[in-house]
Point group: D2
Chain length 473, copies 4
């Protein structure tokens, strides 16, 4: 049994590295650092031997998929590499859907890795099929590939990308690899998902989050611009910007709140500091008296530190996150209720008894885990349990690459704050306001910078909800 989180699932993390004697190995470590962005499958493709692409992919965690021999098989002098980690929705969870995708065209090979979700994939797929295209997977990323290949004439890769990009809508951060060793990064004009450029001893590198740079000891150069295409080849880095400058970005604010690693810098801001700022704002918006402030670790840690600092109430790590969490274990018997929840976080009994507690959590999606945890604190004799959430209530689904809940529904969409307080067994519950969330981060003109559709339903890119669901990666 693998402990299954009911937490949101991001669709992917990507990594790319231009010509390095250890391109595959460094990509492996890049993916290791990005593991939290996708724990279901991973893959690495390496371009070498003039015009070949070698790949290794598998289901599971990066360290299970690759061993030294696997890497040796694909590694090669002067190779470029791209890599990918992914989640997927049930049913499509198989190796065929693991990325990078590799295709052959006129004796040349191309590999692509994608983070995001295309909202018009279904329509495009239909058009492509009319004209005889055959799809091997059910993933939207394959649609991009077909468009790209269709537009590929005499090897002008960049034009082909531009033409393909002109057709697709939604969220995408692509990393492409040609059999000639070029590495290309593509970001959608809304800039939904992070993608950064770095440099490792003179070799350019691309990654979803800067924590991947830290691990391979690359230095951060800059975040990609909305709609930008960067081509890394023997001429260095060439940047192609969209014809019409982008006026309104929609950086996914939820990356800050939950997804990205606290030690990452995305869209130019550090995640830890953003979370702490949210916590401080939350303390001002929803104060309450108590003996201590505690997070549900680790996602709640940094806003809890902010809340405690701002409120002056002592900070305690009163639930201990098990070091072995995430590892599979045998299925516990029926009698052991809530086992998967309990095994992850164990409350420190002596800190809880007779105490008034403020819990800080990053977000509530289905609420069942939170409910179980609150109950555990009650069972140990907590006098009062308040909860503060470092973002607004999640009331709308996301169509841009995040899958909030496979089976369940968004609890805040159907329950009022009052009902939720009762449902969770709390003495009080408060969310950060939308304005609070936007303003706290210190980003100027936040309305023009962030997507916040899952909170208020104002979707920055139109979509057909029925179709979007079907082709969601």
């Amino acid at each position: 049994m693998i402990m299954e989180s009911e937490r949101p699932k991001d669709e992917c993390g990507v990594f790319g590295l231009y010509r390095h004697p250890e391109a595959a190995q460094l990509t492996y470590f890049g993916l290791y650092a990005l593991q939290h962005r996708g724990q279901e499958s991973a893959g690495i493709s390496v371009a070498r031997d003039k015009d070949k692409i070698y790949s290794h992919k598998g289901m599971g965690l990066v360290h299970d998929i690759f061993n030294t021999e696997d890497l040796k098989k694909i590694e090669g002098a002067g190779g470029s590499a791209i890599g990918h980690v992914r989640y997927s929705t049930t049913g499509d969870s198989n190796l065929t859907n693991a990325q990078p995708f590799v295709v052959q065209h006129r004796g040349r090979a191309y590999a692509v890795a994608h983070n995001g979700n295309l909202v018009n994939a279904h329509t495009l797929k239909q058009e492509l099929e009319e004209s005889g295209s055959i799809f091997q997977t059910t993933m939207d990323s394959e649609v991009f590939l077909h468009l790209f290949i269709k537009n590929l004439k005499q090897g002008d890769v960049v034009t082909a990308i531009q033409k393909a990009v002109a057709k697709i809508q939604g969220a995408y951060s692509f990393v492409l690899l040609t059999c000639k060793g070029e590495v290309i990064g593509v970001k959608d004009p809304n800039s939904f998902r992070p993608l950064a450029l770095g440099k490792l001893n003179g070799h350019y590198v691309l990654a979803s989050e800067t924590c991947a740079f830290d691990l391979v000891q690359a230095e951060f150069v800059r975040e990609l611009e909305p709609g930008e295409i960067v081509i890394i080849n023997e001429d260095g880095v060439t940047s192609i910007m969209p014809r019409e400058p982008v006026e309104k970005k929609s950086l996914c604010i939820f990356e800050y709140i939950y997804f990205a690693r606290p030690d990452s810098t995305i869209y130019g801001k550090n995640v830890y500091q953003m979370r702490k700022a949210h916590g401080k704002r939350l303390a001002r918006e929803a104060p309450v008296d108590a003996d201590m402030v505690m997070p549900f670790p680790d996602s709640g840690n940094y806003s809890a530190i902010g809340y405690a600092e701002e409120s002056g109430i002592p900070f305690e790590m009163a639930m201990i996150r098990n070091h072995y969490v995430g590892r599979s274990f045998i299925q516990p018997t029926q009698g052991m209720r809530d086992f998967a929840v309990r095994v992850k976080l164990n409350p420190v009994r002596e800190l809880i008894r007779n105490k008034e507690i403020i819990i800080i959590e990053d977000s509530i999606i289905r609420g069942t885990t939170a409910k179980t945890r609150v109950q555990a604190l009650r069972d140990l004799g907590a006098k009062k349990v308040h909860m503060r959430i470092s973002c607004p209530p999640h009331k709308f689904p996301c169509y841009y690459g995040i899958d909030f809940s496979t089976k369940g529904e968004l609890v805040a969409a159907t329950k009022s704050e009052e009902e939720l307080t009762q449902f969770l067994g709390l003495d009080s519950l408060h969310y950060l306001s939308i304005e609070g969330m936007l303003e706290a981060g210190g980003v100027e003109n936040p309305e023009n910078n962030f997507c916040k559709a899952c909170f208020d339903g104002s979707y920055p890119v139109a979509f057909d909800p029925n179709l979007s669901k079907q082709c969601m990666g």
Copy 2:
């Protein structure tokens, strides 16, 4: 490559459960909770079918060693079970040495699991060999088994234990299982290692730490007394106390400082609170002005919270502990220096730059990891780096079941505090005083309660250093 810690190694964790329909499975979860006490091998023995003992043991982590089928094979109606996790010194790291040990004697089987180290094992072994005993392992625990069997007449198990115990010296918390299903706990008269009694729906249970009770949802009954033998059978729990009452305990204080889980209660006190008290005392003993207090997570977390609270300096988790730490990964190339250290904790660049920092760590053994981490902070532009250690300097080896360092030496035994400050690249370094450590915990008459030999060399039980080493577990 498995990330190898240079941290101290405890010799074991033990668990026992009397007659439960899922005795093996619950023991599995008990060991899962005690995993930190031994990550090299694990085993479970089950007494059932009237007079049989079935075992499953293996090298590695609990979740790797046992699968559902393995457990099914040994599980049985009305069975009692004991389990064990262990580290070992190099060279003896093999399956033969994995516990529980099972022996056959006159058609009866006995299993034993041991936490601790016998200081006179070598002498006893020699005596036993003179009289024709054959040893299968190089472990001190086997010596106890031989003494026990030698004294076993007409199945009077308790007398045999008492007689065996009378001969052995050192630290030991034994859990025994007879083929009749009795579960017996034995603690040495000094009470070096923790061992607690609990109750799970009426079934008695024994465990090294209470966190194991929490996971299987047992309630804590009490810590065993020094020299106590508890026999769990159909008559309930019978306690046999040593003839002469123990006047001076020597609870291993290092269990509080580093080993035990913060969510455990050992020797009657919660570990988290003990660490926080140490941190507070440290703030009073060794104050310094700075922008923030940060731990080396996770061992430094709780004393850092105490230090921050006492000093009023903001607490930050400025190094992020990787969630995937502890998993094996491929060997990084030569170029990636200090990889194993870096992959575990990644500093949050934006929090460090230009800051004056106080680091709180639980202890320093060899110092090489700490040195690397301090350097990493300097590289990111930390203005000043102070370090405060929540125990006194480790200057003496331990002969009671803890192996501070296999290859290396105790850095504080050879370097003055000043030299160490320089070696680690710090602006200042201070340790908690011995008195501070003893007093902070709020235990009355601490000198008569704790072992602190590794700090001051005053060993509570005599030993022959040459021989002790040889038979160390």
Copy 3:
């Protein structure tokens, strides 16, 4: 190390079963029986749930690739299944190339498994790419799939197959599966590779060899006709014959000589009996006096029995085939020369010493293994060693799905019989004549029935040797 044979490699074995409650499981056993036709990868696809196709594929042997759980995942009430085992040429030996291939088209899925080799795949591929097709693999089977899909209008699967088939040339026995559960068998007009129809409790089944029917306890119905398409659906079996009747078949005669299992019936004749007939003819064509006739087991067994019976010279199994052959073992040291050869067949020393021996072998491709074995017999004191080969010398490559030798060359193409006798260290060497081979089997008008191109270079289907090689499966 897996013992690598230098023997010819067939490209595949296929199996299909129409709607059976245990379709996946029976296909598993069908593949198990066909394992010798492909030991590199295997896969099973199941159509169920109205319009879904579920697959499981992997590298290695059938029993390693599938466990009970894997089968459970794809098995489903009323499902139809197809399966495939394959070899591949080096470099392309990866999971992507494992069959069945599954494609999506307008919400419908199709799976295909192929045995054979298309000689015009390269040209067709080029045409398809011109019109925008994207290929995921380097296999010729994918070309057929693209043609099939291109011709698929309103789901008229049969017409699409006919149109696709009209374009391809070479050897092919396809098994197709539609998501509606139809199972379709297709055989090329030359009938290069075997493909038979059977019946299992009323459920129709297709298999490359009848030994697969035996294992699943199906009864043999008939071999497919040249160019025949059989559609198995709720109407039973519909057969579509090629417009122009086929006048000249080219059954691969090498299937009889080496590939197929002796307990199989292919093209309507039993393999064992065919081999024995070859052996008898050989005894008449190339008699020699000796103490015994012995095969190189197992491929030489049956012609050796024929030779011995015809000549009256005693038959001995004087080399013992190791029961554990084919299992991997650790790499032996340099010193242990010819280990892989020796471990497989061990001569019985006492039978060899001072004896005059006739060895019967099915064929010689590179000759290195035979040379080593002859030497082994000499080392044990054989007085004379004669060799008789139950087919003519292999002088030409095969373009119809058999890969004689990846690295090496056909030794008989470059060496005269005399040179070869010396090279192999023999006292005499004789091959079966082409006429002998054709006549011995008792097939009327054999010239119009068999392909024998690898012996005489008269290729029944034209090809461009340069291109053919490149797209060889």
Copy 4:
């Protein structure tokens, strides 16, 4: 599912090699060649580093238990090694019972591997336990070890062996290893089990069968004498013969009939030739007219060749032994009756129909497999089915190391030949006579050379049937 044979199980195979740079690796290959003597567990122990013994053991087949790394860990310059493969009776089938056993005594280590069964183990064990010995296993081999150690004074290993040997009764071929690197072979005075001395580039080697010598390219020196002890050390080979010369050997004749490999020489005679001689004699004792003689391969092969040669009736291999037999596969469904039998041998339909057949089999133990196979031949239309068995009926259990049947009984002990003919569905059935078996081999004075107790109940070494069973290895 592993195909479980109902065939007799030998208790072990042993191998030993004195000081060789690749002692562990060569022992691995020695065990690989002896795999048929024990498929349940295997182990290798290496003496090196002056006085250490390193071991690796596991459950399963040799090639599954050891990988290159495992061997590297135990391999060492100048090491000596011994190895063991074993079967076991159910219940005791676990790693603890895997050999070699290693013990520690006064700082020295000893390893032992045993083939055979001690008939007085139970009594000796009781005595040893009285005097305080502790047993870790339920195996008779451990009893020998205890006796050996008890008698070990000042390291005089040979005297200790002699004294231990004086106490034990039954069948035993031991291979011992001391931490000083000495390798010692011990054979019981009856010489029940084979054990041979060989030489590999000047390094002495011991093995249960000579096929192990063939694989590692050692030359056969001689079979050990009854009661002989050979000590291999830096002085070469020293042989110690029993004080009183042995007058009556009891070589297990069943080793020739079934167990040993046909390519082995045991007790000085080749197995293949012995079997062929049995087959010839059988043809004279029990002739019958028929179309062909066929074996149940492979055990029946060699006597079938003899029978055919003698009778002049054509020999056919009309049942094909599956090359993948012995590999595990998934559990077939209920419907697939007799699957394990059918998957192993598949009859060649075309050879069987309308034919009169003589089947040659080596022996019948429970008869269920034979019954199923005969039925399969009937189902294919065999006109008449006669069976001839190349040994007399098995009517008595063996107490000397062979376990005829775990669950079942000896069918010939309860059924008359007539009843058996009917039970098996035969037209006629005949066994080789006891005299025939003894005389055919060409051994002078066979009554004084062979054990044949399982055929006539005249046990060469007395035993207490109740106790013997309990301690059977």
